[in-house]
Amino acid sequence: VSRFHFEVVVMLKEGLADPQGKAIEDSLPAMGWTGVSGVRVGRHVALTVEADGEAEAHRIADEVAERLLSNPVIEDYTIEYRAEVGS
């Protein structure tokens, strides 16, 4: 059994208003940044999965991201495989 490190990014779906992103974007001009737009706030989750191989680890990480880390009604997620971190 090896251990594999993943990073999952969860974002509100395109087209859904993001109140946090909007609040940050609205504060930028007052601080002198006028050309910054499209601010969206998401969630970054790092996790380590024990599995027999990278494919199996990826399957588990995907399941965790889909069933718990994100709500498919409002959010999309991406998974990045980082590294095998030893047994």
Binding site: A17, P19, Q20, A23, L68, V73
Partner: protein, 231 residues
């Protein structure tokens, strides 16, 4: 007549829900999130609060609680299931209700009395009311903005699954009376068959004339008579 109220770690309004059932003439039953049955209850309430700290997303972890299998079975049998505030968020996360609740537009936590308009009589909370009737109840939430994908939202509207909308004291639904930016001013929705219903406002805080508005009374009257019928 027997109404189960589930307590999750972090539930806040379970006591008020139990008390409201009792004040309105029902028999309240307290159920723990680790229980695996609903104690032969006729109806079940998922109360407000911050279950499991609401880490990750509101209701995201509570949805996996052991008791939720019993809630699903009760719902599948057509039994009345009511989610209030965090309970509404849990039912959405569990897929028992459509849509989701995100941060309020404007980000602020909102705590005040609002008016809501009854949109359908097909839910256990509204069976005794007519569409168009208005009740006054409190809200207190930071994540009560109801959202759904455009096609899902259209389906909710077309299938008559909107149960409550925020409105003026005389029943007008408009932006000025929408406290959190919810799509279509939606304050509550129901399942396909109407027996599962969720809402952000708190009818359980509005049954005692000594401590505020009493808009929750007709909703609990409906629930208790419906629960009787179901039994």
């Amino acid at each position: 007549m027997r109404v189960a109220v589930i307590t999750f770690p972090g539930s806040l309004d379970d006591r008020d829900a139990l008390r409201a059932v009792s004040l309105m003439g029902g028999e309240p039953i307290s159920i723990w999130h680790g229980d695996t049955d609903l104690g032969d209850a006729d109806a079940v309430i998922l109360p407000g609060g911050f279950s499991y700290g609401d880490y990750l997303r509101t209701g995201a972890i509570a949805r996996f609680a052991p008791v939720m299998d019993a809630v699903r079975e009760h719902a599948a049998r057509g039994g009345p299931v009511v989610g209030i505030c965090n309970g509404f968020q849990i039912l959405c996360e569990a897929g028992l209700l459509p849509g989701a609740l995100i941060r309020n537009r404007g980000l602020a936590f909102v705590c005040r009395r609002v008016h809501v308009r009854i949109e359908t009589s097909r839910t256990p909370l509204t069976a005794g009311l007519e569409p168009g009737e208005v009740v006054e109840v409190p809200i207190k939430h930071g994540e009560g903005q109801f959202v759904a994908a455009p096609d899902a939202l259209r389906r909710i509207e077309d299938e008559g699954r909107v149960a409550f909308r925020y409105c003026s004291p005389t029943g007008e639904v408009d932006g000025a009376h929408n406290p959190n930016g919810s799509a279509g001013g939606i304050a509550g929705v129901c399942s396909e068959h109407g027996n599962v219903v969720g809402l952000m406002p708190h009818p359980e805080h509005a049954v005692d004339p000594d401590v505020g508005p009493t808009g929750g009374q007709p909703l609990f009257e409906s629930l208790l008579s419906r629960a009787l019928l179901h039994a």
